[in-house]
């Protein structure tokens, strides 16, 4: 009967275990990086499909008032769109020229501006339908869902949705690109132009004015 000498075996065993443990750790880290590096296209696509179906259902509901439609849309879109992140991306390099108080004020105003615009746009819906045509990864954080808006007798409108993946959370929409025209690029250019001409406070003043005006007209 052979017996292994206790001093050598455990030592060897430990080395192997250590190697295995390192390898496993390496694989895990790699796996984690891979999962971070590839946002889930399926999640993004499913989100756009589900949310758009609900939006269309709300918009085409004859039984509720515009006010009720608006409230339902705001409730629905609050999670799937990260308005704060959108607002920050729009500001671009001007974000860091503003202090914390100004930033918070801007974020609050941007939210009001977006909601006032949503309310004012409700009447534009005329029974258009919507279909998702594809989805793909476009950067280490983002997925792009492509879709078409179809209205009677007009060529289809190409609409792309850029979604950001976040660890363990549902993806959020950060940009809307209509026929190659991005909401973020457009507002960034516009807000940037106002900041350059009238300063950051000027932007806040303009936003406040536009919100009041839009509400009055509604």
């Amino acid at each position: 009967m052979r017996t292994r000498t206790p001093p050598t075996w455990p030592a060897r065993f430990d080395r192997r275990r250590l190697l295995l443990a390192l390898l496993a750790l390496g694989l895990l880290t790699l796996g984690w990086q891979v999962s971070r590096a590839a946002p889930s296209v399926e999640d993004a696509r499913a989100l756009i499909e589900q949310v758009s179906a609900k939006v269309l259902a709300i918009l085409s509901d004859q039984a509720i008032t515009d006010r009720q439609k608006f409230d339902a849309l705001v409730k629905l879109l609050d999670g799937p769109i990260d308005l704060d992140l959108v607002a920050r991306l729009i500001l671009g390099r001007h974000w860091r020229t503003a202090d914390e108080a100004k930033r918070q004020e801007y974020l609050a105003l941007f939210r009001e501006y977006a909601l006032a615009n949503l309310a004012a746009k409700l009447h534009l819906y005329r029974g258009q339908s919507f279909e998702v045509t594809g989805a793909r990864v476009v950067s280490d954080q983002d997925a792009l869902v492509t879709s078409r808006i179809l209205s009677n007798g007009e060529p289809p409108l190409q609409v792309d949705w850029r979604l950001r993946e976040r660890d363990g959370a549902a993806p959020v929409t950060i940009d809307l690109i209509v026929e190659g025209v991005s909401l973020i690029v457009t507002l960034r250019s516009e807000f940037g132009s106002v900041i350059e001409r009238q300063g950051f406070d000027g932007l806040l003043v303009e936003l406040r004015q536009r919100i009041t005006q839009t509400r009055q007209e509604a």
Binding site: W95, A120, S139, R162, S182, E190, S193, T214
Partner: protein, 282 residues
């Protein structure tokens, strides 16, 4: 006519492959490098190439006033006075008339498949579609009509857009696109016939003017709602129209291909106060 581009959005939607354009790019690059237009490309957002901004803003104001006095009310009348099928017919007819320009530029860009589509649609629509009033090709399942012009051809050959320009009456443009407009006139049989003094039914020059007027009216009507919405929501209409035009043209030049990655989506880029300011794209 600040609505020039919105209109195009409704009227023409280009999509398709890149074809042999890549091959031509090398040859054309050398050709165009010599031209004035080899101005560095603008960065998409922070550093728009608009050296004439004060002048441009002035012309934009005048255009906006003229639009409000003439074109916009005319477009509203046109909408009220005519049924949708009539307006669709007019728009189809106008698009069919611009076929020679689109076809010539398809060829110049080496987009032979798209050239084939353009020509095929023209034949079908002209012969079966009452001289172009009906988009027979579209009804038979051809892809949506695409636009090409010499501004896009120059871009495919490597030219940057050059400075942003607001043209009196004509609206948003760039150095490159303004040159393109003039060259496109040369591809237009109406100009050629007009210059040769040939008239078949009508004097070609007068016909050309009438067509331009109808084009403006038709385009403005198609974009009434969108432009109203832009005017209502924007806090700097001039800047909004400028970026709209530049993005829309860039999209047309890419033939609708998607820009995948871009610094504008980097949420950390502007967080660190010591981070370098984004360099303008070259």
């Amino acid at each position: 006519m600040a609505g020039d581009l919105f209109v195009e959005i409704v009227a023409r939607r280009g999509r398709g492959g890149r074809g042999t354009a890549v091959l031509l790019r090398g040859i054309g690059g050398a050709l165009v490098a010599a031209a004035l237009l080899a101005v560095p490309a603008f960065a998409q957002d922070d550093d728009v190439n608009d050296p004439l901004e004060p002048l441009n803003r002035g012309i934009f104001q005048v255009n906006t006033v003229l639009d409000g006095l003439l074109l916009e009310p005319a477009a509203r009348m046109y909408r009220i006075a005519t049924p949708q099928f009539f307006r669709t017919g007019v728009s189809n007819f106008l698009a069919n008339l611009s076929t020679p320009v689109v076809f010539a530029n398809d060829l110049l860009q080496g987009e032979f498949q798209r050239a084939e589509l353009t020509l095929g649609r023209f034949m079908m629509n002209t012969i079966l579609g009452l001289g172009g009033l009906i988009d027979v090709g579209g009804k038979l399942g051809m892809p949506p009509r695409h636009s090409e012009d010499f501004g896009q051809t120059l871009a495919v050959y490597g030219s940057g857009p050059g400075p942003y320009l607001v043209l009196p009456l004509l609206g948003p443009s760039t150095g490159r696109d303004a040159v393109g407009r003039v060259v496109d006139l040369g591809f237009d049989p109406l100009t050629v016939l007009g210059a040769a003094g040939v008239g078949i039914f009508l004097d070609p020059t007068e016909f050309g003017l009438a067509r331009t007027g109808t084009q403006a009216l038709s385009f403005r009507e198609q974009t009434l709602d969108e432009y109203d919405e832009l005017k209502r929501s924007s806090i700097d209409l001039y800047a909004a129209v400028r970026t709209f035009y530049l993005q829309y043209r860039a999209n047309q030049i890419r033939n609708g291909a998607v820009v995948e990655s871009d610094d504008i989506y980097d949420e950390n880029l502007y967080e660190d106060p010591d981070a370098p300011v984004q360099a303008p794209l070259e």
